[in-house]
Amino acid sequence: MTARLSDWFNKRGWAALIIWLPYIWLVVFFLIPFVIVLGMSFATRTSTAPPFGFGGEDPILNLESYQRLFSDTLYIRAYLTSVGNAVVATVFCLLIGYPMALGLTRVSSTWRTILLMLVILPFWTSFLLRVYAWMGLMGTNSWFNRLLTDIWNALTPEAWEIAHVTMMNTNFAVVLVMVYSYLPFMILPLYANLERLDPALDEAAMDLGSRPLRVFWDVTLPQSIPGIIAGGMLVFIPACGELIIPSLVGDASSPMIGRVISDEFTSSRDWPMASAVAVALLVLLVVPLMVYSYFESRANAVKATKGAP
């Protein structure tokens, strides 16, 4: 069916234009830069401008930067910090986002429209300013910090009294702001998944005498696994490479990998090292990416069959 249409388009040369113009654009401005990164990771740092060269003992496959990746503990620690923060942020997004998504499927349709709009709205406001909003809350003089301090002092024995809660420039701050920034990425795919589930299954389980928690565990949760994976990957992947959040609220002594890449590139002007770290980050992300695209293509296939009349 579609083949006929595209054949006909092809005859007139329209297809060539529609396909190749954006294709060439993406190759030039997206693919080639990555080939450059890959090539750069095998280069040697020099003091020329631009600061790289191919030469030395092994000009073709110079593994110097990759060797440093394993010998200098800075890089390994940065990877562990990144993965650790990203995992914790993903788990908290799931713990907060899942009940919210499930809640959205249980409210009236008017409320649902309003609340979905409210989930999407922060998406459209500046990412940078959302991080900034938390900087205002976490500072030692802020009302939020004083509130937390007062609650802590009221609940705990006097010996544990604190003057303020140290939040800024810690890994806790990084995780908190990441959960805040990426929560919509978790809620939206989960909601899309949960909304499609057949409520009759829940009702059948209830009629057969299951308790609500049991219904959730045996019926709802297993069916929502594709949504959990999609949401989890959408949080985990950007969280691993995050640069803005750790730079603004993170602990400078245990940097995340995004910051290491940026620092190597700009402060140290070490292009080969920055590229090697970037390649290693991509390798780290390949597995979650493949899991994600597998589920995504399955979801698209479902959409395509549903779209057909």
Binding site: F9, W14, F30, I96, P99, L121, F127, R130, S142
Partner: protein, 279 residues
């Protein structure tokens, strides 16, 4: 399910409080008289006045707006073409590579896209002599590239849900390709194109990491300006700037959302009427 899901309602309340308390607090403190950005010292609008007197801020905002308008428009054209190609041409050489190129920028860490694009521009300048200076051109090129794939995603998912048989009927009845495109395909996907443009626009105007890498001296977009100020700490004038942004975006999204919803309703009604007329 006749039991009220109290736990779920509670989590929704908690979640929305979590979403909006930081933003509301930021808005409140933009009206703070005190220089200390987090301690209340009385109501004042002086930070807004200061903001509008600040030429650097105005200049940066105009540059951001110019880049966003141009890059969103080009990204929409290129992204729509890719979306149509992916949805309607099932077999062509290099289709697998193209689908990879369309997905990769969506998930690529910005810092990697940033250094990759900067290296490309520096090497191009050295070997081809263009772009001679980094700034408006390089930021716009980078923004087109990474926002066009978002347009593609939106358009593509609309197209695979649309009914191909209408296009095929038009072909069978002797329409030329541009007529099919103009009279059928584009009207059907126009809400998707519109939301794609909006998405590309906000991605561009919001971007700080990639812009920061590919820009040159003297070309400061608004996010780069905010980024360099925020790194030094919380200041009341940034609160004011943030409030203005949030209000403009909020109003814009609500208007756009209402328009899109209305267009969608009208389309559904038209479709229903068309079916009824044909019965």
């Amino acid at each position: 399910m006749n039991r009220r899901p109290l736990f779920l309602i509670g989590m929704l309340c908690f979640g929305f409080a979590f979403f909006y308390i930081p933003i509301l607090s930021m808005i409140l403190f933009s009206f703070n008289d005190s220089r200390l950005a987090t301690v209340w010292g009385g109501f004042s609008t002086k930070w807004y006045a200061e903001l509008f007197r600040n030429d650097k801020v105005i200049e940066a905002a105009l540059l951001s707006l110019r880049i966003a308008l141009i890059s969103a428009t080009f990204a929409t054209i290129l992204g729509t073409m890719t979306g149509i190609a992916m949805a309607r041409f099932r077999r062509f050489k290099g289709r697998t590579l193209l689908s990879g190129l369309v997905t990769a920028p969506l998930v690529m860490p910005e810092v990697i896209t940033g250094i990759a694009s900067l290296m490309l521009f520096i090497l191009m300048a050295q070997w081809l002599g263009w772009p001679a200076q980094r700034g408006f051109t390089t930021i716009t090129l980078a923004h087109i590239t990474f926002s066009m794939v978002f347009v593609t995603t939106v358009v593509h998912s609309r197209m695979i849900q649309a009914d191909v048989s209408i296009e095929e009927a038009a072909v069978d009845l002797g329409s030329k390709p541009w007529q099919v495109l103009r009279d059928i395909t584009l009207p059907v996907i126009s809400p998707a194109i519109f939301s794609g443009w909006l998405l590309a626009f906000t991605i561009s105007i919001d971007d700080v990491v990639i812009s920061n890498f590919v820009t040159g001296p003297g070309n400061t977009t608004l996010p780069i300006l905010i980024w360099s100020k925020v790194k030094l700490g919380v200041t009341p004038d940034i609160n004011a700037l943030a409030t203005i942004t949030v209000v403009i975006v909020g109003i814009g999204v609500i208007i756009a959302g209402t328009l899109l919803q209305r267009a969608e309703k009208r389309r559904l009604r038209d479709e229903r009427m068309a079916y009824r007329d044909n019965l």
